[in-house]
């Protein structure tokens, strides 16, 4: 069985489109997106009489036609940002009201996800190609219901999914970060969550862990060291491990066949942890490149017979 695993596309529409094409491109039997589906930033496009105005990466643009507007919206979406067309009054309201921004973010995230799932329906032949998604620590909880209700993707959070004799268990939660994001929990709580899903697995020799947080101290979790102002120290030259000890301990204890991770974009790599092959394909969603892992599983042995990290 061949799996394509990618993660952390953070709202990048070009990466989502590539993800939907990845099964055909890599001849994969199923595709898995490991969390952090939603974007981090929203770009306001102000609508005036007869034109729109937007500032993109420091450059202010006046858009006189609908075509120009559509092109900019596509560009914004491909970067992983949400375009928000607003009136000048709405923009003032957003700039003065944090709650309104949060609400608008949620609206944009959910409508964008709806659109993505519509695209998926066509590309994945109405669910014929299995596509598994779960949330990551940066994803708001409201996306869970949207994913759960989709006929063309399987929402994996906290579940045991059977993949032709292999058992996939998933968890989008991570250990605490300096950003205090949505799905964070202390290590002890993570350990309890992992134990709960691991108990469901009938044969750990055929288990696949899909945990958003990478295992601590494995090289799959190296992020720039930050000071108290979230500024990289020493010119960005110093990295430090920021993964989860609970995830590491669980891998070493349960020894699944494969463990796939994301969360730390800079830490693309693989790590053998005794019997387990742990992978973090990393993410460069902002460049429009879909990093991922193509993994062949041998059902007879069972073992990981081949893997390849790709920049698609």
């Amino acid at each position: 069985m061949k799996i394509f695993f990618a993660t952390d596309i953070h709202g990048s529409e070009v990466c989502w489109r590539k993800f939907l094409n990845s099964a055909a491109f890599y001849k994969a039997d199923l595709v898995v997106l490991g969390g952090d589906v939603t974007g981090k930033a929203m770009v306001p496009i102000t609508a005036y009489d007869g034109y729109w105005q937007v500032t993109l990466r420091g450059e202010t643009l006046r858009l006189d036609t609908r075509e120009e507007l559509d092109a900019i919206i596509a560009r914004i979406r491909n970067s992983g940002f949400y375009p928000a067309v607003v009136s000048p009054d709405e923009l003032t309201h957003l700039s003065q009201n944090e709650g309104a921004v949060d609400q608008r973010f949620s609206t944009e995230m959910l409508s964008s996800l709806d659109r993505w799932l519509d695209m998926a329906d066509g590309k994945l032949r109405g669910g014929q190609i299995p596509c598994i998604l779960n949330g990551g620590n940066d994803d708001i909880f409201e996306i869970d219901a949207v994913l759960e209700s989709s006929p063309c993707v399987s929402f994996a959070e906290g579940k045991l999914l059977d993949l032709d004799g292999f058992s996939l268990v998933s968890m989008g939660w991570t250990n605490p970060t300096p950003w205090d994001t949505y799905r964070e929990a202390p290590e002890a709580d993570l350990a309890a969550k992992i134990d709960a899903v691991a108990q469901l697995v009938p044969d750990l020799g055929r288990a696949i862990f899909n945990f958003h947080a990478p295992p601590y101290g494995t090289g799959l979790d190296e992020a720039p060291a930050l000071d108290e102002n979230l500024r990289p120290t020493h010119g960005g030259a110093v990295m430090k491990p920021v993964g989860s000890t609970a995830v590491r301990d669980a891998i070493l204890r349960y020894q699944p066949l494969l463990s796939v991770h994301g969360h730390i974009h800079e830490s693309r790599g693989i790590k053998r942890m005794n019997r387990t092959l742990a992978i973090n394909p990393g993410s460069v969603y902002g460049d429009g490149v879909l990093q991922g892992a193509v993994i062949d599983l041998d059902a007879r042995k069972p073992k990981v017979s081949r893997y390849l990290l790709v920049n698609g």
Partner: protein
């Protein structure tokens, strides 16, 4: 939630999410750029070869010209960094833009194999800037021959081994500990540099002459060392040039030599962060540019003061005489220390100035580790190459891939005099890698228009002209000029047949590794051609 705005108008709303980091302190990256273009370890070392190679060239002018030219390389690399801001640097840019095979061959040669050759160069610098002056000043006679022992085959080899061990340990410790050490080394080194500036400012040429004669007699038993040095240079037929401006031709020919020390402001430049803007370009550029020009300024100050106090003709003569009169290289720090007739002060000055070496040596194998890991993750090298031991956190196999060949080449360097000329390729091969990164930059707007359009670098314009691609072309011109000179002018010593064969073998080795990897992986059912193949969007 955070907001970016122009004036009162918000232009971007950010929600709470992982990885939204602020830009780093520019001062930090400036320090690393300054240590990479190291005026003491690389600058002073290379300056000593200038008079014998191009006696009519003006050293100070060539340093300034080189600084101006390399500034364009800084702009070009800043453009690449903010467009594809990955710590993997050249390897990532080249594999993404030029293809996996080309990227591997250039990165493996420029950031891995050639650094084996830098190990004995680093060792030699450690020898002439620390061990030899220290032993001479302290009049230590152990091991046999005292300071002179370090110029023997065994001495050269042992110091190279010390350097390799030191660099290997620092790779194992990791950057978190070393980055702190580097900073203190930089500040300490600046204090030492300031002491030298004060000494050279406060003393006249005549006091230098008498101090030189006195200390040379005291430490080496040489009588009339000043006159003897001038005589030794004259005996070779050398006629020292004046310090002022001279003909541009010979001065331009010094530029390829200056690259040995000034081509590296981009050595450790990285960028993280996903929401990028023009401020990121400014930050990356400022760090490297300031580091480069601090180096140039320190070089200019030092050369002016050498002219004033040491005497320009004598400085050149001393470098021509080499170890002939004193028995050790006329290290300017040693000579400046002699202006104070106190051995303790001289020792302290040598030790403080050695901080320029210790803040720099840790980077010897750092880039090699990154390339080896990246190539292993791309399945070009065996998986083991990226393994890190659980207990000690040491990248054992990658260290073996770096250290063992470096030890072998250091032995060749120490025991086979002809091999010395091969070290002259050390800059050339890295320049080839830089050249292809610059090529990747100038073709980027065509190869990856989406990426280029989204990059803050594409919006930096001067009189409507995009600055970064123009800087890329000027960088290509700089590198092509240097490569042409290195390969055509025998005075640089790198265009002899055996040297070219040596370099060629490195490229062949990289190509062989890549081809074998493709074949072996294909047999395993893995298509390495897929690694950088883009998935269709529609």
């Amino acid at each position: 939630m955070a907001t970016e705005s122009i004036g009162e108008t918000p232009t971007l709303f950010l929600r709470k999410a992982t990885g939204l980091v602020r830009g780093w302190n520019v001062r930090d990256s400036m320090i690393y750029a300054c240590l990479a273009t190291n005026i003491v370890t690389l600058g002073l070392y290379e300056f000593s070869y200038a008079p014998s190679t191009f006696p009519k060239g003006q050293l100070l002018t060539s340093v300034v010209i080189s600084g101006i030219w390399v500034s364009f390389l800084v702009v070009a690399y800043s453009g690449l960094i903010v467009t594809i801001p990955r710590a993997g640097g050249d390897y990532v840019w080249q594999t993404r833009i030029l293809g996996g095979g080309v990227g591997f061959v250039l990165a493996a040669t420029g950031w891995w194999f050639i650094l084996w050759l830098w190990a004995p160069i680093y060792g030699n610098i450690l020898s002439v800037e620390l061990f030899q002056p220290l032993w001479a000043t302290l009049k230590w006679t152990w091991p046999g021959g005292g300071a002179g022992w370090f110029t023997t085959h065994n001495g050269i080899f042992i110091v190279s081994l010390i350097t390799i061990a030191l660099a290997g340990v620092l790779v194992s410790i990791g950057m978190s500990g070393y980055a702190r050490i580097q900073k203190w080394c930089f500040y300490g080194g600046l204090v030492g540099f300031l002491a030298i500036v004060i000494l050279l400012l406060a003393n006249s040429h005549s006091s230098f002459v008498s101090s030189f004669n006195l200390e040379a007699h005291k430490l080496f038993g040489v009588n009339g060392a000043y006159a003897a040095t001038n005589a030794a240079a004259a005996k070779t037929g050398f006629a020292a040039s004046t310090f002022g401006f001279g003909p541009l031709g010979p001065t331009m020919l010094l530029v390829p030599m200056m690259m040995f020390f000034i081509l590296w402001p981009n050595w450790g430049a990285t960028l993280y962060g996903e929401i990028r803007g023009s401020s990121d370009f400014r930050r990356v550029f400022t760090g490297m540019f300031a580091g480069l020009w601090i180096t140039v300024a320190l070089a200019v100050i030092l050369l002016l003061l050498i002219d004033k106090t040491v005497g320009w003709a004598f400085y050149q003569n001393a470098n021509i005489a080499g170890t002939g009169v004193l028995g050790v290289w006329p290290y300017p720090v040693l000579l400046a220390g002699w202006l104070v007739h106190n051995a303790a002060f001289q020792v302290i000055l040598i030790l403080v100035m050695s901080l320029w070496f210790f803040g720099w040596v840790g980077t010897l194998f750092l880039s090699s580790t990154r390339v080896i890991f990246a190539a292993a993750f791309d399945r070009v090298l065996p998986d083991r190459a990226a393994e890190v031991s659980e207990k000690r956190k040491v990248p054992l196999y990658s260290l073996i891939l770096m250290l063992l060949p470096a030890v072998g080449l250091s032995a060749l360097y120490a025991y086979w005099s002809k091999f010395y000329t091969y070290t002259l390729d050390a800059t050339l091969v890295i320049a080839v890698t830089y050249l292809f990164s610059a090529v990747a930059l100038v073709i980027l707007p065509w190869r990856r228009p989406d990426l280029w359009r989204a990059s803050p670098a594409s919006r930096i314009k001067l009189w409507g002209i995009p600055v970064v691609p123009v800087a890329g072309w000027i960088t290509i011109a700089l590198l092509v000029f240097n490569l042409y000179e290195w390969l055509s002018n025998s005075l640089y010593g790198s265009n002899n047949k055996s040297s070219l064969v040596y370099m060629g073998l490195m490229y062949v080795l990289a190509i062989v590794i890549y081809v074998v990897a493709r074949l072996v992986r294909a047999r395993q059912g893995i298509d390495l051609g897929l690694v950088n193949k883009e998935i269709p969007v529609e």
